[in-house]
Point group: C2
Chain length 417, copies 2
């Protein structure tokens, strides 16, 4: 199946005699009228034009709410006053065939884009929400106190609050395009998604007419420092990090990895970039433990720290592969979609050392200027194992990569003190 | 269907002529041999004795790995050196009927508990992993510098690292027991879980013989300060917080709520408690935005901040209900299970103001001594709206709850500066 957008089809508001039917989705069409809304409602089954439903894995909690009698299954969201605080797009990328396959670019503006369908009784829910926030990070306050950052009342307050626009984005997968990204056929993708999840959503294999899947997985959140419209202007300096969730470090500050230090360093870079007239972007994806989940991650920690010879950089990837079967399950292939949703064409400063992220972004047609890595003094001692292993594996670093003997000698703490 | 454990059945290692078959699960049995392993493998379908598969929602990424040709579908985890760093249980609660229904108490020790079945070729995976970590939080370093905390080299280092034991736990639902918690029949629970997720896992309704479900949702992580065995000793002072994920605050420090301040305050209390001979516990559940997900949460933020009269405490719950249909979808009914897995019988200091959490814990038979709320100086100005709304709604507070006029006058920032 091709990832080219098919020829326009007209919306049929009443596809079945005697009532409303499911509206067609023509993925990648240039206008919402041609594209059609994503309808994942559970209240009126005949309206559904997707596999799965809204809110990712939280649909399971929604079900519990109905089971407990706390939520009416007929509830429709009252979307009064919920519209985005900032206009994002539309950008040419939204209808560039195959450029966006894992989110709905019109997902933030369903109230306006699909007003007619909403008025006709379709339960259309936003899959993206855009709001404003003041974010206060202790590391930013520290940078302010040490003079690395300065308050300007626009991007950063005296109290250390960074003023951001942020967006939460649920996954919306157009299966032909997702299959194309992973280099397999759509039929294979559907079969494997069904079989390897233990039989989730048989419609994946029985309903090839439904091309859109709302998978029960975590989505992503973007934090924008400066004017969101500037993200689409290649002449405005863009500092960006695409960050994958690591709860143990991001929230609890575990010293075995550099996740939170990288994130807060990127935020500092984003603030500085925005203050010198640029714009900053942090995209945060729910892909805990390289998308292996935290149980597997902790099993790997134990295997690393107990192996003969101790936790050395030269065995770093091998231990993950023994337990998980792969070194990494994050698959950055879908990650650039959010950048195209924001209209990004050029990233001037990419705060990341990951070659997988770099290749995915560059391969999707976004120009990348400099790569900015984490300063040495922010790397916890125990995280040296991970850093050196990654550098030797070809991750970006401004200096030389460690050699075999250095990898053997880069050793983390053992489990017992 | 009753939640009492049925009479013991014997393990049948070969239930089908000509090959191994699925092993029975007798939920709540006193020994692993009687209970039987949870087999959610996708490599040998005839061995499966559950609905769903491992790793929660990350099974979708596992499927992508297979689709991309990166992972062999026959891969079995090599569990060498992955065993828990600390022994948890077994405790009497593990076989107290109906006490634990949403996790597998034997999930951390499958290698030992089900050695015979593993040797017989069953692919049995841990659903719990236990490891050690050093966690370094800026707020803890600040408390150390200000003299509120002191380093002792045992619980807290000079550098501000707290030494913890931590466990990641995947959900394993015994459906008869889950239904009982929510006061509905098992048949209703199964039907609603199927229908309200848009048709996820038809086995929920077609395979009533499979009583265990591995739902594709986030699990939880526990952080233990001090000796994990002390959690089960009601004479050792236990300081505890059960925290629900809020990425915007926990990671990014958004000032609209008190999530991270509450969490870091609890960690400070846990460290102090452990240092005076007690033990501390933080349980972190992946229930973003009251288990409504982040898109809904951000929609509610906009509705709150744009409503006529501004973002006032008296409208706080109403705005969530308009958008989501409920005020809260977290359902603390399953939350105490993790406490029973840890053997907890008494919490001396519960760091929380939530009545829902308090009621769920106390209702599950755990004694609660004092409740500890967040100090006023840690509440961000914009989060006053949430705090006052909660206090007026009956959440715990040592002082008087705000009256109607105070609620009307507790006002947050508007969207436009």
């Amino acid at each position: 199946m091709s990832v080219e957008a098919p020829a326009p089809r007209h919306i049929r508001l009443t596809s079945h005699a005697g009532g409303y039917g499911a509206l067609p989705i023509q993925w990648g069409a240039a206008t919402p009228a041609e594209r059609g809304p994503v309808v994942g409602t559970t209240t009126q089954r005949s309206h559904r034009n997707v596999i799965g439903t809204h809110s990712g894995s939280y649909s399971v909690y929604r079900a519990l709410a109905v089971a407990a009698g706390a939520l009416s299954r007929q509830h429709k969201a009252d979307l009064t006053n919920t519209a985005p605080t900032d206009e994002i797009g539309p950008y040419p990328q939204w209808s560039d065939p195959g450029r966006i396959v894992s989110l709905d670019p019109w997902g933030a503006v369903v109230s306006q884009a699909f007003a007619a369908e909403l008025a006709a009784g379709y339960d259309i829910r936003p899959t993206i929400a855009v709001t404003k926030a003041h974010v206060v990070l202790p590391e930013v306050i520290d940078a302010l106190q040490k003079g690395r950052l300065r308050a300007d009342g626009r991007i950063l307050t005296e109290g250390g609050a960074a003023m951001v626009t942020k967006a939460a984005i649920e996954p919306v997968w157009w299966l032909p395009g997702v299959a194309d990204r992973f280099g397999c056929t759509e039929a294979d993708l559907r079969r494997v998604l069904f079989e390897e999840t233990g039989g989730m959503y048989p419609e994946l294999v029985t309903r090839s007419d439904l091309e859109v899947f709302l998978p029960p997985i975590g989505g992503q959140t973007v934090y924008i420092f400066g004017n969101p419209r500037d993200l689409a202007n290649p002449d405005v300096e863009l500092t960006a990090r695409v960050h994958d969730e690591c709860n143990g470090s991001d929230v609890f500050g575990s010293d075995i990895c550099t996740c939170r230090p990288y994130l807060t360093h990127a935020i500092e870079e984003c603030i500085q970039g925005a203050q010198r007239g640029g714009v900053g972007l942090v995209s945060y994806s729910r892909k805990e433990g390289r998308a292996l989940g935290e149980v597997t991650k902790f099993l790997v920690y134990n295997a690393r720290k107990r192996q003969a010879g101790g936790d050395t950089a030269d065995q770093y990837f091998a231990r993950t592969e023994c337990v998980a079967g792969v070194q990494d399950m994050r698959f950055q292939e879908l990650m650039p979609d959010v950048l195209h949703w924001l209209g990004v064409r050029r990233i001037h400063r990419l705060v990341s050392m990951s070659n997988m992220k770099y290749d995915a972004i560059a391969g999707s047609g976004i120009e990348i200027g400099r790569r900015v890595n984490i300063p040495d003094e922010l790397i916890p001692a125990d995280a040296r194992v991970e850093m050196n292993a990654k550098m030797a594996a070809g991750y970006f670093s401004p200096g030389p990569a460690p050699d075999a003997s250095e990898l053997k000698n880069t050793r983390g703490r053992r489990l017992e003190p």
